[in-house]
Symmetry: C2
DNA sequence: GCAAAAGTGTTGTACTTACACCCATGG
DNA sequence: CCATGGGTGTAAGTACAACACTTTTGC
């Protein structure tokens, strides 16, 4: 009885596709790969793969992320499920999209070669297979909402950042200029960053102070009833 | 080659579960049903069902909605995909949750009997099967975001509403009191409602004016670069 | 005439925006 | 000494929050 209630129904392939964001040279980038199989072989595509019986959706996405980045503990969030009957012209596949924020500076360039992958400027994306362009747009909308209401922006950096680079990152995500003084005022008012004793000297003669996100300060900030907001 | 790329992978049951919200007597309600099959037979559950080969995720959800409400054109939005391996103790099932806003006043009460369904006050929900309580919480978070940034609140009403009932609805969704004058001022400032020539006289001797959402006015409002916000 | 919900403006406060100059340093 | 990006404060305007009384009418 119970078994037939379940098993008399159709079964489907389930894929996870990852929208991998990185920040480099004042621009937001997306990691894409050439699709290795027919149909649409060699077309640009998100990093994806099929879910297996013994793993959760999240684990399936983490598997993909690890395969293409060799990094663990990457920040990741579900975008949504895509289930049009004809979305994948090779078979009936339901795909669940996730976006991920990776530290592009510490990225292994060997991997991009190995997988025929490439970083694209978000403003200059090629046409992608299936509904992947839609997934990217949805991911970007969600990212915009999240980076302005939660302190996830710091996942783009490897522990330290300058205020100018942080501002550049927000500007490229929103495609809008921010006022430098107002931006710094807002960050200072939240008091969730540590000013480090070191400076970044690559981009200016004077040198820019490095900062780091302080999770303890952020906890106190939340306890005081405040909300992150940029 | 291509066929085996797809078909050598695991296949899964996919369900859609619907979080059906309604508004009645100043309270937000949720339509629940007693699960008709083992395991957990007779426990309270969201309205759900399996996706079939020839339908999209959205269509599968619309099918469920229609089955339990007999209404078409219901406002619906995806909440997300739930894919823990043990989330359904009867089988491996990935479920995609959708929330829906229905006009509870025009609801066919025969249907609730037929499906062993019942409306529950959102503040007094029973324990639900599987991860359905989590889905409800996620749906509520999303609903709160959406009703404050898009004019979807009006889907709770059958074309007309009083400003007091609209305020009551926002208050029950956010579980917060709103200031009556500020609330009305905000709505008036957007100029997206029509004041109807009729009054609601059930809840007061004086009678409260009915209003209706005007999509044309809303279009102009958007064109002027403004954004809905409550 | 009174109870019960509908309807209506003003003022202070907090937040957001706009804006321009000096600083430190490497070359 | 100069070119380059780093760093800083104030004033005006806007949006939000707080608040109390009059109106209508069925009973």
């Amino acid at each position: 009885m119970s078994a037939s209630y379940y098993q008399n129904n159709d079964h489907f392939l389930i894929a996870t596709d990852c929208i991998i964001f990185g920040f480099h040279k004042k621009e937001l980038h997306l990691l894409l790969t050439r699709r290795p199989v027919e149909p649409l072989k060699n077309e640009w595509s998100l990093m994806g793969g099929f879910m297996e019986e013994n793993e959760s959706l999240t684990q399936a996405a983490e598997k993909i992320l690890y395969r293409y980045t060799q990094q663990k503990g990457i920040y990741m969030e579900q975008v949504g499920a895509y289930g049009e009957t004809d979305r994948d012209c090779g078979a009936r596949v339901v795909s669940v999209a996730f976006y991920a924020l990776v530290k592009m500076e510490s990225f292994n360039t060997m991997l991009t070669q190995q997988f025929d992958a490439r970083w694209f400027n978000i403003n200059n994306l090629p046409e992608l297979v299936f509904d992947h362009n839609i997934m990217v747009n949805d991911a970007l909308s969600l990212l915009r909402y999240k980076v302005s209401s939660e302190p996830i922006i710091f996942y783009f950096f490897d522990g330290k950042f300058t205020l100018s680079s942080l501002q550049d990152l927000y500007e490229t995500i929103f495609q809008l200029p921010f006022d430098k003084r107002n931006f710094r005022k807002k960050l200072a008012s939240m008091d969730i960053l540590d000013k480090l004793a070191i400076k970044e000297t690559e981009n200016s003669r004077r040198g820019a102070n490095y900062y780091a996100f302080n999770p303890e300060k952020y906890k106190s900030f939340l306890k005081a009833g405040k909300r992150f907001s940029i």
